[in-house]
């Protein structure tokens, strides 16, 4: 795919982010959606995909739960959770030759997973937009912040392609920005999420002002951020933004400084719904990188272990009571 217009897009995974992308992009391209459940695909084909909130529209999309039935496309956007990526990438293996694939997962390592299943040129991205999924066919667009894209260096994706995708997303009514090197921004967001999402998941708190309060959770969030920054420094990554400043900015923003409108990080949503979280790809990724680089991250390791324990509280069955010998 050169810099020519992208006419056909496939969005893989129609959660909150996937739904926002699919509905908006349907204004400027032919959009197909790959779902996990057949009834989800049927509902999308029947009713379209409604967006309320920061945008108001109903997008027309083709949808299927069978990767083999997807129409051809030039751009695939893989918008499933990091926890489902391996399985979804395996379903795409051998398909969509010549297409460019874009990953948008939280944390690190999504590109490596996808690259194991095909030789598509890859685009890395991180998104700061957010919303709430009300049903299979209705998503509310809440934070209209940007998605950042960059070429994944190992597949030699051209910058022209990245810019074409960013242009398409901007034309669709969402916001996007192209970067020649996304790694600094990816790490900024990784470190921000490792601190903020972990603390939210463990305390049950949305991202409220307490996260920046020196007499409350501020010191914990700051130390998690500092551990992440030490790992980034050892990895030779110069951060795009300071994650602690991102925390201050987020809690000062109109939507979040009033606790009744505070953003509920996705990891807290997962905990409340007793779903497996993305902690292994976020705090867990910081811990793995730290181990590789010989950096000590005791607090990040602690929150990673606590959240893994919390997941175990709803996935493990009660063990038979052991009797002392």
């Amino acid at each position: 795919m050169a810099a020519e217009r992208i006419a056909r897009v496939c969005v893989i995974g129609a959660g909150t982010i996937g739904s926002l992308l699919a509905a908006h992009l349907s204004r400027v391209a032919e959009v197909s959606v790959l779902t996990r459940r057949p009834e989800h695909a049927a509902a999308l084909a029947r009713e379209g995909l409604r967006v309320s909130g920061k945008s108001e529209l109903v997008g027309r999309v083709r949808a299927s739960d069978d990767a083999g039935e997807l129409p051809p496309f030039e751009l695939g956007i893989i918008a499933v959770k990091a926890t489902e990526l391996e399985q979804v990438a395996a379903r795409l293996a051998g398909l969509a030759r010549g297409a460019t694939m874009m990953t948008i997962q939280n944390g690190l390592g999504a590109e490596e997973v996808v690259a194991r299943h095909g030789d598509w040129p890859l685009i890395s991205s991180v998104t700061f937009m957010s919303g709430t999924r009300h049903s299979d066919t209705h998503v509310e667009y809440e934070l209209d912040t940007a998605t950042w894209l960059g070429p994944w260096a190992r597949t030699g994706t051209s910058m022209d392609t990245v810019e074409a995708v960013a242009r398409l997303i901007n034309e669709s009514g969402l916001r996007a920005e192209a970067f020649t090197d996304l790694v600094p921004a990816q790490w900024s967001k990784l470190i921000f999420n490792s601190a903020v999402n972990s603390v939210a998941a463990l305390t049950g708190l949305p991202h409220v002002a307490l996260f920046a309060d020196e007499d409350a959770l501020g010191p914990v969030v700051r130390r998690l951020v500092d551990e992440g920054k030490a790992v980034a420094a050892a990895a030779g990554v110069e951060l795009y933004e300071d994650p602690w400043e991102m925390n201050l900015l987020a809690v000062a923003r109109g939507e979040t400084n009033r606790s009744d409108y505070a953003h509920v990080p996705s990891m807290l949503e997962d905990v409340l719904a007793h779903r497996q979280t993305e902690v292994d790809f976020i705090a867990g990724a910081v811990v793995r990188e730290a181990a590789r680089l010989g950096i000590d991250v005791p607090l990040t390791a602690a929150v990673h272990r606590l959240i893994r324990g919390r997941e175990a509280s709803w996935t493990l069955r009660a063990q038979p009571k052991r009797v002392p010998a």
């Binding site: 409350a216 005791p298 607090l299 919390r310 509280s313």
Partner: protein, 318 residues
């Protein structure tokens, strides 16, 4: 015969239990079994106090007895007492002892509460203080009735900065033992207290944050490791304070996994009921003593902040 009359049976002793919740009731009802001891109880729960005065204080479960206890919600009614036993949750110590201190101007006051820091608060109000640690546990099942879940020992010793005499400590320990609550008087009770503190601070908040039973916390390598890291910070602070622990808290953790696999830590029970926890007297206590000794306790600090965040979340709109 009213309770005061019991004192005529011999060289009497008057004891007031401050905070007649589960643990306070265990002490009050057992002490009331001794004829020579007149037992008073102070508590803010009027229905519990009324039931105790009408029908006596009844223990079931691991105990089966009724104690005659004079209970009151009005501290002004308390007569001078030889001993006080403070058994409130640690966050109510200050308020409870400020209300009742007048009854102990010639007596000595023991804490049998969780965590550390309670004796320091009591000593702001009374002259002679006894450091105490207790293992029995129970729960109030209805006003005037307490279910005793586990029996266990109590260790008492003079609180060093404002000590009761060892003779007083021994007299109280003998009174408890005579009532059926086995107690030991020690010159230095800090080892027992810090052993229990470190055990509780390493296990309670992990249970509360993960919602895992004690057995499962120990079974998962990841959470078990965290418990050991918290134990290590606590031991470093105890070392700096010159305290010799009674036993290795890490071994207690594994022992408890065998005998109390399905136990939900009391802090987890508090969290599930959205009640304030005793985090300040547990991990918060380790952090405070650590900082006085110049010993870093980063993990205990973080755990304290997370539990306080969790407590704050219950006041969020939802």
């Amino acid at each position: 015969m009213d309770a005061a009359g019991a004192a005529e049976a011999g060289p009497g002793m008057r004891i007031c239990v401050v905070g007649v919740g589960a643990v306070g009731s265990l002490f009050a009802a057992h002490l009331a079994q001794v004829d020579e001891i007149e037992v008073w109880g102070y508590d803010v729960a009027a229905d519990h106090v009324d039931a105790i005065n009408e029908r006596g204080l009844r223990l079931i479960g691991e105990a089966d007895l009724v104690g005659r206890v004079r209970a009151t919600t009005d501290p002004a009614e308390l007569p001078p007492c030889e001993f006080g036993i403070v058994a409130t949750k640690s966050m109510y110590t200050r308020q409870a002892i400020a209300q009742t201190a007048h009854a102990f101007s010639d007596g000595a006051v023991a804490s049998v509460q969780n965590g550390v820091g309670n004796e320091e608060v009591i000593a702001e109000h009374v002259e002679r203080v006894i450091r105490g640690t207790t293992f029995p546990a129970g729960r109030v099942v209805e006003p005037g009735v307490v279910y005793m879940d586990v029996r266990g020992d109590t260790w008492l010793g003079p609180f060093e900065p404002r000590p009761a005499s060892l003779e007083q400590v021994t007299r109280l320990a003998e009174a408890m033992t005579a009532g059926g609550m086995n107690a030991k008087a020690l010159e230095d009770a800090r080892g027992a207290q810090w052993t229990k503190l470190i055990f509780n601070a390493a296990t309670n908040p992990i249970g509360a944050l993960t919602q895992l039973t004690h057995g499962r916390v120990c079974e998962l390598a990841e959470t078990r490791r965290l418990v050991s890291q918290l134990v290590a910070e606590g031991k470093a602070v105890a070392d700096a304070l010159g305290i010799t622990l009674d036993s290795d808290p890490d071994e207690l953790v594994d022992h408890a996994a065998e005998v109390a696999y399905e136990h939900r830590a009391s802090m987890l029970q508090d969290v599930l009921a959205e009640r304030a926890t005793e985090i300040d007297a547990l991990n918060g206590g380790i952090v405070r003593f650590g900082s006085e000794q110049g010993i870093p306790t980063p993990l205990n600090e973080a755990i304290t902040a997370l539990i306080k965040g969790l407590e704050f979340s219950w006041r969020q709109p939802r």
